[in-house]
Symmetry: C2
Subunit: 307 residues, 2 copies
């Protein structure tokens, strides 16, 4: 299968690497020039569970011309629209697109570029890191839950599911993936902004009763808004899931901490807590915790002079 990975950060590299290894033709698309240069010069260096160097094709999105059979979207949330705009030429009538971005509301953007029946929404618990340009850290195992918007459902994307499973990506076709996407958004919405603001690991932040009150109130707001949108969410199950995830990831800084505090980059807050606050405002549901934490993160971006 001919596959573009649109957004070749840590996760994009993982998926591209695994899909190429299992026999597909994979092209990574990214705009980070140092990363492109490194991979072109030396290949993609994989460390972690294995240590190997793999030649991979990488280019800027505007350089892609060959029509895709399958595109995995894995940009940062705020880069999605720009990426789709740039890869318009390679999106054909049969091109299937899987969105694995963190956060909420991406289907509204994707629908402007991709036919409804060709869109898949998904969520993954695979992890990955980047040590630097051209160097990915891959450890552990994960799964992907995905759902197609096509009327035929799973049957419409069976070849995609099979291709990804042949690459060891552990895809589960999910007839109702949206609750899983919201559940992951709850994980990000309770850990990312809070740990970034308080400059803490997940374990450090989750250690106090005060923090747990914040976590539970944020989840409550997500559940109120999601439920009003018709998503089936079980608040207690989500609280348990978030607490369990926090235990497993206790020693880690979440990605927003890496973006904001370590690398002084803009955050995805508008697509996580900010998305819930916007949806809440439309629905007439108060989401003060989501709104306040979104504004605190934006205030911090401004303080650090990040634009």
């Amino acid at each position: 299968m001919f596959i573009y990975i649109a957004g070749a950060g840590a996760m994009g590299c993982r998926f591209g690497y695994q899909l190429q290894k299992s026999g597909n033709e994979v092209v990574l698309l990214d705009s980070w020039q140092a990363h492109i240069d490194a991979i072109k010069a030396h290949g993609l260096h994989i460390v972690g569970d294995q240590d190997e160097v793999v030649p991979m094709t990488i280019m800027r999105p505007e350089e892609a011309h060959k029509q895709a059979e399958f595109i995995i979207l894995f940009t940062k949330a705020m880069q999605l629209q720009d990426m789709l705009e740039k890869i318009k030429p390679v999106i054909g009538p049969e091109t299937k697109v899987l969105c694995l971005l963190n956060g909420l509301g991406h289907e509204d953007v994707i629908s402007k570029y991709i036919k409804h029946e060709n869109i898949m929404m998904g969520v993954t618990v695979w992890t990955a890191g980047l040590k630097g340009p051209g160097e990915a850290i891959l450890q552990g195992k994960g799964t992907i839950n995905l759902q197609s918007f096509a009327a035929a459902g799973e049957a419409a994307v069976q070849d995609i599911v099979d291709t990804m499973n042949a690459a060891g990506l552990n895809v589960i076709y999910d007839n109702d993936v949206v609750p899983s996407i919201w559940r992951k958004a709850c994980v990000n919405g309770t850990m990312n902004s809070t740990c970034a603001l308080t400059d803490a690991t997940i374990g450090q932040f989750f250690a106090s009763e005060a923090a747990i009150r914040i976590v539970k109130t944020i989840i409550h707001e997500f559940v109120l808004v999601g439920t009003a949108e018709g998503v089936k969410l079980n608040e207690q199950e989500i609280v348990d899931y978030v607490m369990h995830t926090a235990e497993i990831a206790a020693r880690h800084y979440p990605s927003m901490h890496q973006d904001l505090i370590q690398n002084h980059r803009l955050t995805e807050i508008d697509y996580i807590n900010g998305a819930v606050a916007r949806k809440g405002a439309k629905l007439g549901i108060a989401t003060p915790y989501c709104q306040m934490i979104t504004d605190l993160i934006h205030a911090k971006e401004s303080i650090l002079n990040i634009k």
Copy 2:
């Protein structure tokens, strides 16, 4: 007049210094041993608008035995009860007590130790800093607004007002000081926790629209709760006052930043935003911004292992 300054931090040192210079017998009370030792050994070193060394009497509160004519309370909010407990022996039936602590709700604690008619509540815009043990930085001028709980009002405390004015402290007797106390609490409630959390000067924090949204929402909660308690508050006037104060103090870190980030000390958050959240809960008024920022500060205290 024989005066104790109960809490000889920066502001206590300023008031003690000025009152002694104008001819009163002043004793500073504090529990910071290095500060006590420095002042006993070398006197109080005043820098800033002047540079002089002044011999002053300082002791631990439990060492005070002579009954006071007048006590100025200037501890950190969380040390108030402990201070009052220790100075019980010097509180006589005629001892007048002026509370100048930041924050809200201190009269509830003071009333347990002092007769109602001997209590004065006040608020000041004087400033001061400490360079280190025994060394105070005094710059600029200020005023004090105060009100007596005595039925006779101003007449009951005329000698105190005169004594303080003779020391150049610019006291205004205020027949309704509570709105001013709330207004100052709004200044602290919008700058202290936010700048501490985002590690910013007041000017850096107030520079973004996101921050101003937070500031205005916090003030709104203070006004809702204060008004429900019968305090006359004008929300727009307070917003203007806070914005004006932020402009003047733009280059400074507020005291909570000094406590939490610079010195890893417990904060006064429970007596500022936390007090409004508690009052709101009693009154059935939602104060999510005050509650969340209080919990974020407590989470940060826990992350820094401050107890």
